[in-house]
Symmetry: C2
Subunit: 413 residues, 2 copies
């Protein structure tokens, strides 16, 4: 058992060596880690069986399914690590290069952040994904797994460490032995040891980290996403987009929670929407503002329904007078994750895209596309809903900083 | 008297309008603000006279000089604002543009951060500089001035607000009425109202903000900067660089505090250095590690001398066995601001530049060049010593974030 501070110090000690690895060295390590995960399948599944047995009375069905590994899920984890090996190396890129007025040659070069802390909940594949992404970006990582997946996460890290040990890089990937709140609290105050802390999980975990971390922290996740159906919308396109954004995967942050409808098309559009969303295996419950009540059956919306991330088959609906009111509503209620307009009007689309201040703003597409894979980044560390450092889907580049490399010939000031 | 919360809300309410201003509108505002500062010269000087009178018994000579305005200093402030008008607009730049695998067209566009908080100490020109830089980058700002300069800062903001009011943008630039610690504390906890907090001033202020702010905060400033004189250094070049880095302006963060010397050239180099730095109006005091004592007169270095930002005519000196030991010392003691190697060896320079993990790393040049103006940014918000968001000298781009503007034709996932 190592203390949290010992583990943080180990990670920091590994960072300089990791920063110097070549792309080829990192990719070979990743491929070896993927093989090791497959070879450790029995050990990982045995640990997972203990985790699922311990959690079966406390976790709901969906969460228990997320926690449970199978041979094919272990192979998928290994393939995920192989996919990271295929991504371009984000380190050592010349981001800018110029000769300053004083004659110095200045190059801005991407470098690893150094040490990355991640605090997350119960999905075991987050452990292997995070380790792989940090390795590829030359960062040492310190992971704090959710307690339900703790044995599984430790087995995964152990398989990875066996590979890293052969290259004297054992401390590149670390998991806290202290799986309590005290361990998490120590990470949050590890100024000078961690360069960034990334929480991944539910709203409570993220708020707790953002409000308590003294280490720079990236706020991820919470999405109260809006679809505004404009008076000039193609109504069948709008129905398809709202249906997809609400029902294709309601539990994720880029799912829509609110539909705003222009008053001129409310009487035509809302009955179409109700017809499409009310049937099927998972009928959507509408939380209806008085403005929309004449056109739609549902529950009267409460005060909080327009500020709630339902993560369920529930949609809050409101009719607005115009584009201006829609933009105002979004400014007041959005979490600035992803918001969309459906319209055939170029002017309305331009105004919406310019004025709505969210990480991703959409014209005639589902908010569900806010995702590292869909954006073509090949992976995703998380989706930032803050504005510093990274915004929206974070790919490997979000795990880098830069430095200025300055070459002179004796210049003094 | 407005409460701090009222002022923060006002700033937030102004942000959307500011984000939409064209470059021409912003530049016209800035030029009008510059004129207004000159026209308000009498009012500003009267307020400054009150500030200097109140501070003359408590502030030292240097600080009192920094606080004191003259007609020519007011004109210099106005010219500083005019210089900001000449800089390129950092907002609305297409940083990236691509078509994702799903056919969506995605553009990454720079946008203002929104609302910027600044807490700073007693130099009045920081008030006009900060207001101008925030205006140019489309951000609303909330300023908390040091108490010594409070009346002066309020007079400056008042002149600027008179200009902004004519465009209904009065709330774009704000200064706290509550000039106490409580006001600062409220800024640090204004999650959702401030997008970033930038402290500027002494180490105590910056540590306090970094450790207590729940708003994302950018750590600026502290510089324990090193010059490593390699065995293959041109010794006269090295003397000139160390002299410049130490003595050209010892009170600033990019001044050198430590000189590391390769053992092979210590007996030749250190007497040269002593001869050059010991004379003149401000002789340098050497804090000498035992390894350097045979070659140099000075005070024996204490345990803390290699971890101290002297900001004075004091230089800690140590002899190292080789490049490896120099890099190790810097890793252990640097604040990762600016560090330099003096050498004619390409291999040594390359290793140093790659392995020293600081915001700016130099080969054969003085650390004093770490500065927004010297880097050709035309201005400087501060020098970041953290790795998230911005590192090193922060120009106008550091006051921006970005958003993804996604255009589709009915795409669903």
């Amino acid at each position: 058992m190592a203390t949290t501070r010992e583990i943080l110090l180990r990670a920091k000690s590994a960072a300089p060596q990791l920063a110097l690895l070549t792309t080829e060295q990192k990719n070979e390590l990743l491929l070896a880690c993927a093989d090791a995960l497959e070879q450790a399948e029995d050990t990982i599944l045995a640990a997972n069986a203990q985790d699922t047995a311990a959690a079966k009375d406390t976790l709901g069905e969906v969460m228990l399914d997320r926690l449970t590994l199978t041979p094919s899920r272990v192979r998928a984890m290994a393939d995920g690590v192989r996919d990271v090996a295929k991504l371009p190396d984000p380190v050592g890129i010349e981001l800018d290069s110029f000769t300053a007025p004083n004659g110095l040659h200045i190059r801005k070069i991407s470098v690893p952040l150094g040490t990355v802390g991640m605090i997350y909940e119960s999905r075991p594949n987050v452990t292997s994904d995070a380790a792989a992404l940090c390795l590829k970006s030359g960062n040492a990582c310190v992971l704090k797994s959710g307690k339900e997946a703790f044995r599984t996460s430790c087995a995964i890290v152990s398989a990875i460490k066996d590979v890293l040990r052969k290259e004297n890089l054992e401390n590149a990937v670390n998991i806290l032995d202290d799986n309590s709140r005290a361990g998490a609290a120590e990470m949050m105050t590890a100024v000078g040891l961690l360069d960034v802390l990334i929480p991944r999980g539910g709203k409570g975990l993220i708020r707790h980290c953002v409000e308590n971390s003294r280490v720079p922290c990236i706020e991820t996740g919470t999405g109260i996403c809006h679809i505004y159906v404009d008076k000039d919308a193609d109504l069948s396109k709008a129905v398809a987009i709202v249906k997809n954004a609400k029902t294709s995967r309601p539990s994720v942050c880029n799912a829509a929670e609110v539909c705003l409808v222009h008053k001129d098309i409310a009487s035509a559009f809302l009955p179409m929407l109700e017809k499409e969303l009310s049937g099927g295996e998972h009928p959507v419950e509408f939380r209806v503002d008085p403005s929309a009540a004449p056109y739609l059956h549902g529950t009267a919306a409460s005060d909080t329904d327009f500020d709630t991330e339902f993560l369920d088959y529930i949609l809050a609906v409101k009719v607005v007078d115009d584009l201006e009111q829609a933009i105002g509503h979004i400014a007041a209620h959005s979490t600035h994750h992803s918001d969309a307009i459906v319209t055939e009007s170029v002017a309305a689309a331009r105004a919406f895209l310019q004025r709505v201040d969210s990480a991703a703003v959409y014209h005639n597409a589902s908010t569900r596309f806010t995702d590292g894979g869909e954006f073509g980044f090949g992976c995703e560390i998380g989706i930032s809903t803050q504005k510093l450092h990274a915004r929206g889907p974070m790919g490997l580049a979000a795990l880098t900083s830069y430095k200025y490399v300055v070459t002179g010939n004796g210049q003094i000031r």
